[in-house]
């Protein structure tokens, strides 16, 4: 049956624009699209097992991420944009993992064996996620790592007091369950050439991370006691000490890596820890939490100072650092272009750690082109390279944090799988959903929303924790987790569905009903004839969609196609009723006045 054009137009407008299925802010921002809203609700309901199941649908590292995820979800959280107090999404994840992550309930099914083999370079989160997905697709996955321990930068960058190593090992045991093979202590480019590796496998995923720390061209940088964050943190991670470091440690840099260095410095026995940043305190790129916790641990912040010269003593060891005052860090276009003034200052130190960025080292023998920061040149949507069988993931391809590395690993694995199955790499893929995106959700705050404070974690006292590598944050109690979960606004639209009973009988949101209509080209008459035409839907809809109006227009077409009669059996009586209401017996007109 044909409907009038306005019916199709409205149905299309509603189907295209309805926010009923639009992701919550948190879930859209998560590169892995963990169903944050759902698991927080489950925790709130006391269903921690259910929450765990929800998390594991997307993440194999729940406890790890619960502790160290840089949580883009929290930056996007509605409670952040409204009140500056986001849900503690990551901490809730850790709570669920500690409470309910049972190895026995892990999904260890793999795809049917394809006979294809993929080499993955790097046992960091990108390589691990790629290997998991490759096994799920039925391919053989072999991870090569030059280290003897798994986890990549999570293991040799992120300090132990933030991420206990047994958590990584436990969560990585999932890969063994899936049959991922590990060749540890094997360095590609040294122990095996990239060419040989390619020859042994049907495809290669390069996920070697960014492990080359550098020292900027500062005068005196050759002095003993000068090092970089990567080398320092790696040594501390593997040995809980540092051959290079002395007792008065200065860290250069204002990001999270610098905070890790400074806080690690205490833990290997430093007596004085300073942090030298170009940025002013308010401009520091590190997270608020890390800054706060570093200050609690008495790290001395020297903000707006640049390193002018490192002066060594007679033995060649660092003795003094001369600093010059920073006037501004960024130019008017927001580009990094520090300007210095005349003022200088000297501080005493025996160690300088530069935490000023990490670079990607080449493992391909120059085969794949690199750009800024050593990152490989890839097609950003597919992570394919100039070589058909080579894909890049993680920091090596452009990520900066663990959960991004995972999403990039997933992406690369998907492309590799398509390549191995001789499928087109791009066709039919929804690239938007393969990474973070900004949701189109735009709804008023739920009625009665209050600004409730975020539950802080249970941190050990700074004076105690700064001397050991045990976790500094003890995590939430049951009570705190529930309390925190109850702050979640469960962001969604579906406002019309709260208002309208009838639509709930036919779908989850108008997108279902009108989308189905457009797809089928027809609709059961009972649907439009169940509408009260009350306007409640349009009244609450942030987009004012003409839902009732469209049902009404459909009715008109049903009548036109049914000899002027309603298709609903029950309406016979109404038609009679109406007829009587216009009959002579029951009507009159009387002119007033003279």
């Amino acid at each position: 049956m044909e409907f009038r054009q306005s019916v199709y137009d409205n149905a299309k407008q509603i189907t295209d624009g309805c926010m009923g299925y639009e992701e919550a802010f948190c879930t859209a921002a998560c590169p892995m699209h963990t169903d944050v809203k759902k698991y927080i609700r489950q925790i709130g309901e006391g269903n921690v097992e259910g929450a765990m199941e929800t998390i594991r649908e997307k993440l194999f590292l729940p406890n790890t991420l619960g502790r160290i995820c840089a949580h883009p979800c929290e930056a996007a959280c509605r409670r952040e944009s409204e009140f500056g107090q986001p849900l503690s999404v990551a901490a809730l994840k850790r709570y669920a993992a500690e409470k309910a992550d049972e190895k026995t309930s892990w999904d260890t099914t793999t795809g049917e064996d394809t006979g294809k083999s993929v080499a993955v370079i790097g046992a960091g989160p990108a390589g691990a996620q790629a290997a998991i997905d490759l096994r799920k697709a039925g391919h053989r996955a072999v991870i090569y790592d030059k280290l003897n321990v798994v986890g990549g930068m999570m293991r040799v960058g992120i300090p132990e007091y933030r991420l206990p190593r047994e958590v990584i090992d436990f969560e990585y045991s999932y890969l063994e369950d899936l049959g991922v093979e590990f060749k540890m202590g094997v360095e590609i480019g040294k122990d095996i050439t990239f060419t040989d590796l390619r020859a042994q496998h049907d495809a290669v995923i390069v996920a070697n991370g960014a492990h080359k720390g550098g020292v900027p061209p500062v005068k005196g940088k050759e002095a003993q006691g000068v090092t970089n964050a990567c080398d320092f943190l790696k040594e501390v991670s593997l040995t809980r000490q540092s051959e290079t470091a002395g007792k008065r440690i200065a860290v250069v840099g204002g990001g999270d890596v610098a905070m890790d260095c400074a806080r690690s410095a205490w833990r290997i026995g430093a007596e004085e820890v300073s942090l030298l940043t170009l940025e002013s305190f308010d401009e520091l790129p590190a997270s608020k939490e890390e800054i706060h916790e570093s200050m609690e641990e008495d790290v001395r912040f020297l903000n707006s100072w640049g390193t002018d010269e490192i002066i060594a003593d007679e033995t060649g060891r660092v003795q003094t650092i001369r600093l010059k005052k920073v006037l501004s860090v960024f130019d008017e276009n927001g580009k990094f272009a520090p300007q210095f003034g005349e003022e200088t200052m000297e501080i005493e130190a025996d160690t300088v750690i530069f935490a000023t960025g990490q670079q990607v080292e080449d493992v391909t023998g120059g085969l794949i082109e690199q750009k800024g920061g050593g990152r490989y040149v890839t097609n950003p949507e597919t992570l394919a390279t100039s070589e058909d069988d080579v894909f890049v993931a993680g920091d090596a391809s452009g990520g900066y944090i663990v959960v991004e590395a995972m999403a990039l690993g997933k992406k690369a694995a998907k492309s590799a799988d398509r390549f191995l199955n001789q499928q087109e790499l791009e066709e039919g893929r929804n690239f938007k959903y393969e990474y973070s995106f900004v949701t189109n959700l735009d709804v008023p705050l739920p009625k009665g929303t209050e600004n409730l404070p975020r539950q802080s974690g249970n941190h050990r006292a700074a004076e105690e924790r700064k001397h050991d590598f045990r976790p500094y944050d003890l995590g939430y109690t049951d009570e705190q987790a529930k309390q925190e979960a109850s702050r979640c606004l469960q962001c969604e639209c579906k406002l019309c569905m709260e208002e309208c009973l009838m639509m709930n009988d036919y779908g989850e949101c108008p997108q279902d009903i009108f989308g189905q209509f457009l797809q089928d080209g027809e609709i059961e008459p009972i649907v439009p004839y169940s509408c009260n035409v009350c306007g409640g839907c349009t009244h609450v809809c942030p987009n004012d969609y003409p839902i009732g109006e469209t049902f009404m227009a459909m009715r008109k077409d049903f009548i036109l196609h049914n000899d002027g009669k309603s298709p609903m059996e029950g309406h016979k009586a109404i038609e009679m009723h109406q007829k009587l209401g216009f009959s002579k017996v029951f009507t009159t007109k009387v002119k007033g006045g003279k």
Binding site: M502, N532, G535, M554, A573, K589, V590, G592
Partner: protein, 258 residues
């Protein structure tokens, strides 16, 4: 200056419910507007709601003819559907709601303050079809206050009004759903006593156990006290309803001609 020529039109559900209410209302209007005319007919909203455009047009044309025949330019109505239908359809006749008119002309002396000792607190069910007619909604509160009743508002008052379940002719099409909509609307109100200003809404809320009064019941009828019952649900009894409609038609004639 040409004074507007006013008429009164009870519509269909109101005259089927209360010929007495129609009579008293018209008598009072007639005191104020001695030249008051009257039309008894349905506005055609039901036909329109079914989607019968042609038939609706035909029927409304008939109503227009009636209004024109008796020289009406402003039709006073006591039903939100009549109000909307006429204003949306007629190019020459304007519908004026009784609920905005009464605050302007005032209530008869004898009813003012009559309920000031009533212990009932009324919730107000606003009609969804006129959710954005704030003046009308305020008029109802004004009448209640003038009578002396106390009023309780709910989250779903005024523009957040919800359907009583009767709208869109869904009762015969999907009775189970209609019942759920009625119940949901009833649950919006804390008070058992609800005042409505549409006779069909009254029937809906009565069906699910609310003590629902039409504002005209309160205006012209006895003062309501706690534990008093609401009038019976006449609209659910077709024979009774049609007799009432017939009576109302006679009322219209009688009052105008008086």
């Amino acid at each position: 200056m040409t004074a507007s020529k006013k008429g009164f039109m009870p519509g269909c559900s109101l005259p089927s419910y209360t010929p007495e209410g129609v009579q008293k209302t018209m008598e009072y209007l007639k005191e104020i507007y001695p030249d008051l005319g009257g039309v008894q007919k349905c506005c055609g909203k039901g036909t329109k709601a079914l989607g019968q455009e042609e038939k609706f047009k035909e029927r409304f044309d008939g109503l227009q003819q009636d209004m024109d025949d008796i020289g009406i330019d402003t039709m006073i109505v006591a039903c939100q559907n009549c109000y909307k239908t006429i204003n949306e359809t007629s190019e020459t006749t304007k519908a004026e709601s009784l609920w905005t008119l009464l605050p302007k002309i005032g209530l008869p002396e004898e009813v003012r303050g009559k309920a000031k000792d009533s212990d009932v607190i009324f919730a107000v069910h606003d009609s969804c079809s006129t959710r954005y007619e704030r003046e009308m909604q305020d008029g109802i509160r004004w009448i209640l206050r003038e009578l002396g009743y106390r009023v309780e508002e709910s989250e779903n008052s005024f523009e957040n009004a919800r359907c009583c379940g009767f709208g869109g002719m869904i009762v015969p099409a999907n009775p189970d759903l209609a019942n759920r909509v009625m119940q949901r609307r009833a649950d919006d109100f804390e008070s058992d006593y609800v005042v409505v200003y549409c006779a069909a809404c009254r029937a809906s809320l009565s069906k699910v156990g609310k003590k629902a009064f039409h504002i005209l019941d309160l205006l012209w009828g006895p003062v309501v006290h706690r534990d008093d019952d609401a009038p019976e649900d006449v609209l659910s009894k077709p024979a009774q309803a049609w007799i009432n409609r017939y009576k109302s038609k006679r009322v219209v004639k009688k009052v105008v001609k008086a």
